[in-house]
């Protein structure tokens, strides 16, 4: 099977002497959603930032759409990988439409003027995330939930095969979480995008993810399906929980997950 993105023995971190996460290897196929889970500070974001070139990789190989990442120019990357990061942006005097339109950057001409097709792509993306009513509002004046939708729409209209999402659902209320995740799921299943996302809400993982990567103790702790990874034993190990508590957590989590799965698929 041709993978959209493959990591092979990737070491990531802020400098050579202390790698935050070592020896990360996994593949993502088209249409597949991979969830990165792990405790705060485990290095999930560091992995994602390395894939999107915010950080230099320390060693190992990243293959993107059958190409070695080191051989790709900035422009190649911008047409292959889009992202939503946790850091907030503060664009001045930009409407939500303007912010989404920046996703078309790799496709516009020398002066960055939007063509008819670009505008159509932007509108489609905004519609997809259900943010049409805030389209003309100032980005800085809409709610966190709307902003997150806009940032997702921005990534969507960048029209890449791979999407990297760092905690796309954090700080959102339950309905926004469900909305955002159903959009992501639709993107993967209908448009065959390869998605890698980090997520703290484990209860959503069974409904959204095809594959789960547990990150802990500076390495990939385990790779598997949600039911293989979200067990009491694994939770205790990954999140440093007292022995016995993991089982209680996992039981409750799966019950909640079943309810969410129904809601997510209703969309």
């Amino acid at each position: 099977m041709d993978n959209k993105i493959s990591l092979d023995g990737l070491d990531v971190g802020y400098n050579k002497s202390i790698g935050v996460v070592n020896d990360v290897s996994f593949d993502v196929a088209p249409g597949e959603i991979v969830a990165l889970i792990g405790a705060n500070g485990a290095g999930k974001s560091t992995v994602l930032k390395t894939i999107t070139r915010q950080l230099q990789k320390l060693s190992g190989e990243i293959r993107i759409c059958e190409m070695n990442e080191s051989d790709m120019t900035e422009e190649d990357m911008s047409k292959a990988v889009s992202m939503v990061m946790t850091e907030h942006i503060h664009p001045e005097l930009m409407t939500c439409f303007d912010v989404v339109a920046t996703g078309r950057y790799p496709y516009t001409g020398r002066l960055g003027i939007l063509s008819e097709d670009d505008i159509k792509a932007v509108d489609t993306a905004i519609e997809m995330v259900g943010a049409t009513e805030v389209e003309k509002k100032d980005f800085m004046k809409v709610s966190d939930g709307q902003r997150q939708r806009i940032m997702l729409a921005r990534a969507i209209c960048q029209d890449t095969d791979i999407m990297i999402l760092d905690e796309p659902t954090s700080f959102l209320d339950i309905q926004f979480k469900i909305d955002i995740l159903s959009v992501i799921k639709r993107l993967a299943k209908e448009s065959k995008k390869a998605v890698i996302m980090s997520i703290h809400e484990l209860e959503f993982v069974p409904a959204i993810a095809d594959k789960v990567i547990g990150v802990a103790e500076g390495k990939v702790f385990k790779v598997g399906t949600p039911s293989e990874i979200l067990t009491g034993e694994n939770l205790e190990a990954m999140y440093h929980m007292a022995s016995g508590t993991g089982k209680v957590m996992a039981d409750g989590l799966w019950q909640y997950a079943a309810a969410l799965e129904k809601l997510l698929w209703q969309k």
């Binding site: 930032k49 999107t52 070139r53 915010q54 120019t73 900035e74 422009e75 990357m77 911008s78 047409k79 990988v81 889009s82 992202m83 990061m85 850091e87 942006i89 503060h90 664009p91 001045e92 005097l93 930009m94 303007d98 912010v99 920046t102 996703g103 950057y105 790799p106 516009t108 020398r110 002066l111 960055g112 003027i113 960048q158």
Partner: protein, 338 residues
């Protein structure tokens, strides 16, 4: 979308008209008052009008210089604000103009003292090196102090040091050749001649066109570094280019007109308010026009307020634009709390 486009067109047309009006006004006012009809006559056939010589060899170069250099200064400020990601940056408050001033003063005093003629281009080069030195210091400081207001205080201090050293240099080298240097060091368009105008027109236009062609990556950079990188922008290269372009612009201004205060910081802010946009493709031409208008008006005031004595252009721009800067500081403080 359309509403925005209409707004931009109306604003641009209005600004061009205002600039044309100021141009005529600038030719007319001064120690000798000249009628509009005579201005037009002297522009067509300068030999036949009594005031022709004043208009052509004194007022006209001065006014063109105010337009070109005022515009350049505002664009330079706009680029710096993008670079530092903050609206309270400008070549004057960050001490960059003063660095340029110091280098120009040193090279003038030492070379003129040895009887070496200094061409306009050499002055620009000296100013450019001075700008880069100040810029380097400011960038190092910016790495250490994350707070923008504190950085501005550091910039003002750098400005004071450079101005003080310039003052020493000028005082000790009291030569009749550099008698104009004192006026210049406070900021003035009074010493401008046609050669200066020609050199600055060429440098400024090439640089501004270059800036305009970069409006796409600059716009991406406004979204923050990580997203800009994800859009395919080479961040390191863009940062270097931003610094070089804004230094060339502010150096050209300083070389010919000395340090002009607050235009670079206040005009981009005023333009954002008028245009209701921060997009570089709009802001670069808007800042140029706005800077030209404001600088030209301030120069008219500098010439006429206490005629026949001239006040420095910085005195006038400070009176009008420093309050705008205070407003920006206060407004930001309020909005960042809310």
């Amino acid at each position: 979308m359309n509403q925005g486009r209409n707004r931009y067109s109306v604003c641009f047309v209005a600004m061009i008209l205002i600039l044309a009006f100021c141009f005529i006004l600038g030719l007319g006012v001064g120690s000798a008052d000249i009628k509009v009809s005579e201005i037009i006559k002297s522009l067509i056939a300068p030999g036949e009008v009594f005031f022709g010589k004043i208009i052509i060899s004194i007022r006209l170069p001065r006014i063109i210089a105010a337009i070109i250099l005022g515009g350049a200064l505002s664009v330079s400020g706009f680029l710096l604000q993008i670079f530092f990601g903050n609206p309270i940056a400008g070549p004057y408050v960050l001490g960059i103009s003063s660095g340029a001033k110091l280098f120009v003063a040193i090279s003038m005093v030492f070379l003129v003292a040895r009887g070496i003629y200094i061409s306009s281009l050499v002055m620009v080069v000296a100013a450019f090196l001075g700008s880069l030195l100040s810029m380097a210091i400011v960038i190092v400081l910016a790495g250490k102090v994350k707070n923008m207001s504190l950085l501005v205080v550091c910039g003002v201090m750098i400005g004071y040091i450079c101005s003080a050293v310039t003052e020493f240099v000028i005082t000790f080298a009291n030569d009749s050749n550099i008698v104009n240097l004192h006026n210049w060091s406070l900021g003035s368009f009074s010493g401008i001649n046609w050669e200066h105008v020609l050199v600055s027109v060429v440098i400024v236009f090439v640089t501004i066109i270059f800036c305009f062609m970069l409006s796409k990556p600059i716009g991406a950079y406004q979204m923050g570094e990580s997203y800009a990188r994800n859009m395919g922008v080479n961040i390191k290269r863009l940062r270097v280019v931003l610094i070089l372009l804004s230094s060339i612009l502010s150096a050209t201004v300083t070389a010919f007109a000395g340090p002009i205060s607050f235009v670079g910081i206040a005009v981009p802010h005023i333009m954002r308010g008028i245009m209701k946009s921060a997009k570089p493709i709009i802001m670069i031409p808007a800042c140029f026009l706005g800077g030209a208008i404001i600088t030209l008006l301030c120069d008219c005031i500098a010439r006429t307020a206490f005629a026949p004595t001239e006040v420095s252009i910085s005195a006038v721009t400070s009176v009008f634009l420093a309050p705008v800067v205070i407003y920006i500081l206060v407004a930001r403080r309020v909005s960042s709390r809310g």
